[in-house]
Amino acid sequence: MAGSSLVVLEEDHTRFIALLDRLREESNAKFAFLLDRAGQQIAAAGALEASDPTALASLTAGNVAATEGLAQIIGENKFSTLYHEGENDSLHISLVSNKVILLVIFDEHSSLGLVRLRVKQITQDLGRVLDELMTRSDSQVSGSAVSSNLFEEISDEDIDALFG
């Protein structure tokens, strides 16, 4: 939405982490990652080893966006999940409430079927937390008040100081 902000409070982050940890354990995956559709990282669970999470988030969002474009060209609304199989690690990408992207990285200790099952089970719980967060972010009373208090405190000197 134009001109809006997505605000993730500490309690939201904690709830996301708990759900992603549960997903990772139950699916035996290496890494579970929640990001918004513009490529911003929301929460992550597990070890990413040598990879760069910022680049991973950006490329995943681009991947999802491009694939949605492809779907629409062939007359589909969207592709609900994406799966990329590697020699060692594989990626499972899905949308939660059509608002954020869930990325799971797994290896031979798991399977596509198990990951898909656990993702399906956890998606509703993630969606509930997300809906609360979105409702608050859009709200005139609480959501915008949280972020507007932060930005109201920002002075011209604060901005100038960023550039040394």
Binding site: A2, G3, V8, E10, A38, L162, F163
Partner: protein
């Protein structure tokens, strides 16, 4: 869409560099990457063709420092400028917080500049944005070329509101950081004013 993460104490914003093909969008990002200290930048991702034309996007995350205890991180993206990549340009604009339009100062590229501004307006509209209100800066690049149109003429033809205008030679870094600082400031001021 600005992303505020209270858990990580981060403010994340997205800036997109827009403009016609070969105007210098990627050159801007590359210069920022090369001149930014290591601890303040992430990896530069470039999805390009074999001939180094941007195919999907360039991406560079930078961190500018802290405001009120919150790290300010900006994700810089470029779009592919060639006309037939319009579908991709539209995707990259999703969630944008600020736009830099990079214009090619060569006389033979003026029509392409004008078409690209119009294209930007239409693609922003598809995402619910209005070019007249989104934080926006205009860069007149390639000022060193002999065929460069005067800055006054370019400004008259391309300026859409009272956006700041910067002359640049991105290959030499001239005007690159001035443009970036301006759009960062505009984005933060816009956030303050919401």
């Amino acid at each position: 869409m600005t992303f505020i993460n209270y858990a990580a104490r981060e403010i994340n914003c997205k800036i997109v560099y827009y403009g016609p093909g070969l105007c210098g969008k990627t050159t801007n990002i590359q210069w920022v990457h090369d001149k930014t200290r290591t601890e303040a930048k992430g990896k530069l991702i470039s999805l390009a063709t074999e001939t180094d034309r941007t195919l999907f996007f360039d991406f560079l995350p930078i961190e500018l420092g802290s405001i009120r205890g919150f790290r300010t991180r900006f994700h810089l993206y470029t779009v592919p400028g060639q006309v037939f990549y319009d579908a991709s340009r539209k995707l990259i604009l999703k969630g944008v917080d600020g736009v830099v339009f990079v214009a090619d100062s060569q006389e033979m590229r003026m029509d392409a500049n004008i078409d690209s501004v119009q294209n930007l307006r239409e693609n922003l509209k598809d995402h619910g944005f209005d070019l007249d209100t989104v934080p926006y800066a205009l860069q007149l690049n390639k000022r060193d070329l002999p065929s460069a149109v005067s800055a006054d003429e370019m400004t008259k033809a391309l300026r859409v509101k009272n956006e700041p205008v910067f002359e640049a030679v991105a290959t030499q870094g001239r005007g690159v950081f001035d443009t970036l600082k301006a759009i960062v400031k505009l984005v933060l001021l816009d956030l303050r004013g919401r």
